[in-house]
Symmetry: C2
Subunit: 316 residues, 2 copies
């Protein structure tokens, strides 16, 4: 029986999804690992996966495709760029996987790009060949799909919409070294910062904030009628809508999908986001749908499995 | 012998290119026409094309593909949107062409998109699967190619980069009804306006300007050491570089091609444009090449022929 693997690569564990080639998820299992450098770590990965296979009456040679999603740039040609947040030797890991699952086509996919493909394979974007998935999480990432294909980019920066400049007057520096990037306002950290800044500006005591990305407390405050929270979320929507209006002038998608942790509050901010997009966008593009993503944190696992399967030649 | 047609559709004439399926241009001929509405006009078009075919020992049934490039939006599915600058009945024209060239696959392509495809088929982008062609002319249009395919857009606005917002503080209104679009600064009209505005601001007499899009005089003034011309061209480069840095965050192309009438002065402004792009762009994307387009005003004719041929199934 042909099997497909989708592997979320993290710093201290991997999450393996075992799929059929038709996209049915048979099992999802988390495997704690040391840093993914060296044979000991690779053995932990391949042994763990082999046990998942055994539990489903499958053997390593049943695996025809294995996708790995990673938090870093992957170019059009599959080359992995610099990974700031994870210890990983991509070539070593591919070698170890290929040695055990010798029939498998192996592919790396950037995490936000993988999530976009997952939504296309098994989520709300199913049947849509033109959409942009935007993940509002710790940072802001995205996956751009046009003509049914992911745009990874010549240098792996396709969908780096978190670094679209939305405020030329910003004085704070973004993680990328530039100023005024979308990520500074529409990430979880950005929303919390906008809220605290507005409270300070008005001399108001903010609601208790647990940590730098605690948007839950900001959205709760908004629901309770907190004006500073309302203003912060409005600003977030304004900057996100501005960036989306720029994206539409480039690829003009049929749909925007909003995912990532912040999208838990999508129903709360969607009306403001849609209204601001309509006010900002080129008239031609205003028919675009703006919806919530559907697969949550499983999306990337689905998507990297899909991409490996596509490269294997099982998908058009 | 299989033949392919590429037709530039204009308001008072069409320009027909007769090609081999390999992309060799056999002949280019301009045919004056009435507005492309009604059988009389269609007959002028098909009779004129038939004479070009006859001169090359070909008959109407030899035509396997016929592309038409038009100055307006064409969506992913081939639907033609509103055409503000031309009198044309798309369905009628396709019907008339199909009646005479009954073996031909007919396709409409937006003019800037067609030019991008032309540069990929027979120009400097040959062999490149990821690039953005930007036409700086009366307006600013573009064609975005990723994974070797044009991105026409769900609503035909793919590559409408002339309407990327680059200056939120602009008070003048763009043709699209919004403010601060790239087209207001990087079109021929925009460059002339920036020049005249700077002369007025400094109380300097400008060089004689023949018409609203006379960038030739502005670039001549620049060559002669005119400070206002230098500032206008620097501003144009700054806004264009800013828009390109946004485009790179979406599709991350391997190459930008600058075409259109203003690109006649590419050698003059390229150093400033490249320097400003490097200063603005996300570090990951800075390896992109910025070059002049190569096919001039033949590009769109090549490109619409290519797209019709692709739809016909002769190209992968």
């Amino acid at each position: 029986m042909d099997r497909v693997l989708g592997i979320d690569v993290g710093g201290t564990s991997i999450k393996v999804g075992l799929f059929t080639p038709e996209g049915e998820l048979l099992e999802e299992r988390k495997i704690p690992t040391p840093a993914l450098v060296g044979q000991v770590a690779y053995d932990v990965v391949t042994d763990g996966i082999t046990r998942v296979l055994t539990a489903h009456d499958s053997v390593p040679n049943d695996v025809i495709a294995c996708g790995l999603d990673i938090p870093g740039p992957v170019a059009d040609d599959g080359t992995v760029g610099f990974l700031p947040n994870i210890e990983l030797d991509p070539e070593g890991l591919v070698g170890a996987i290929s040695a055990v699952f010798s029939h498998a086509t192996v592919a790396f996919v950037n995490d936000a790009n993988a999530a976009a493909l997952g939504e296309m394979w098994a989520g709300v974007a199913h049947g849509t060949s033109s959409f942009v998935f935007i993940a509002l999480g710790t940072g802001v990432g995205a996956g751009v799909v046009a003509n049914g294909r992911l745009i990874a980019g010549a240098f792996g920066a396709g969908g780096e919409v978190g670094h679209i400049t939305v405020n030329k007057d910003e004085t704070l520096v973004c993680g990328c070294g530039r100023r005024g990037c979308l990520e500074q306002y529409a990430s979880a950290k950005g929303i919390v910062r906008l809220y605290l800044a507005e409270c300070e500006r008005r001399g108001v005591t903010p609601v208790p904030i647990e940590h730098a990305t605690d948007t839950l407390s900001v959205f709760r405050a908004l629901a309770a009628g907190d004006d500073c929270a309302k203003l912060a979320v409005d600003q977030m929507c304004e900057y996100l809508a501005l960036a989306m209006s720029q994206i539409s002038c480039v690829v003009d998608p049929a749909m925007y999908l909003i995912g990532g942790g912040v999208a838990g509050a999508f129903a709360t901010f969607a009306p403001a986001l849609r209204a601001r997009f309509l006010a900002r966008a080129l008239p031609t593009c205003r028919g675009v749908r703006i919806e919530a993503a559907s697969l949550g944190n499983q999306a990337a696992m689905y998507g990297c499995a899909y991409e490996a399967l596509r490269l294997h030649g099982e998908l058009s």
